[in-house]
């Protein structure tokens, strides 16, 4: 079975600064997908970024980028130039290529301070 661990329950950052959220996972699969989802107070889960395990290049989406270390089973999210609207709960998630369910970490509550 897969497990996803987010060791930082809460983090805060000043507006315009950079913050990194940590995520580690455990799997015996070789091919899989990793995701970061954002959940603001509205409860809507919003996809932030995704990474395919067979791709060595780290995914980037505007101010969001990941540091994917396959051997270490680490998948951290870096948010550059943090904005007040980035305040939300962030979830790391894993999906097997051949499977269908997402396995989520416990989440990290990020607060961006003005």
């Amino acid at each position: 079975a897969q497990t996803v661990t987010q060791s930082q329950p809460e983090m805060s950052v000043q507006e315009a600064e950079t913050v990194t959220l940590s995520c580690t996972y455990d799997t015996s699969e070789n091919n899989y997908y990793l995701f970061w989802y954002k959940q603001p107070p509205s409860r809507q889960m919003i996809l932030v970024i995704r990474q395919e395990a067979y791709k060595q290049q780290n995914a980037t989406e505007n101010r969001f980028s990941v540091n994917f270390q396959k051997a270490a089973k680490s998948f951290s999210l870096k948010i550059s130039d943090s904005q007040l609207g980035d305040t939300a709960m962030y979830f790391c998630a894993f999906r097997k290529t051949s499977g269908s369910r997402l396995t989520f970490g416990e989440g990290t509550q990020l607060t961006v301070n003005p």
């Binding site: 809507q44 979830f91 269908s100 989520f104």
Partner: protein
């Protein structure tokens, strides 16, 4: 186009009553998922539909929980004889059959069992 919608947004019920939660996926999405998010927790997988069939319902916590999907579209999650530990946010997600493995989430139903 329209996203995933769920109804009701909030539901308060008394212990022992049955409840039905509804999910309308994005039009054309063949895969549909139910997850549960208890207070302060990550998301827990409940069941996965491909079309009208459920190849993976291993996450349903007890036989009080059931789900169906009709016409390859709307899904209903039914909880019988609700218990206080059923209180949670129930999230639905859908995914197209090809082109992307990204799951798109609805806003969830917050269930409170008194």
């Amino acid at each position: 186009g329209a996203g995933v919608s769920q109804s009701p947004s909030n539901k308060v019920t008394e212990k022992g009553k049955d409840v039905e939660l509804r999910c309308d996926p994005i039009s054309g999405h063949t895969a549909l998922y139910w997850y549960r998010q208890s207070l302060g927790q990550g998301l827990e997988f409940l069941i996965y539909f491909q079309g009208n069939s459920a190849p993976d319902k291993s996450g349903l916590p007890s036989d009080r929980f059931s789900a169906e999907r009709t016409g390859g579209s709307v899904s209903t999650l039914t909880i019988q004889r609700t218990q206080q530990e059923d209180s949670a946010v129930y999230l639905c997600a859908s995914r197209p059959s090809r082109g992307t493995d990204t799951q798109y989430f609805g806003p969830g139903t917050r269930l409170t069992v008194l």
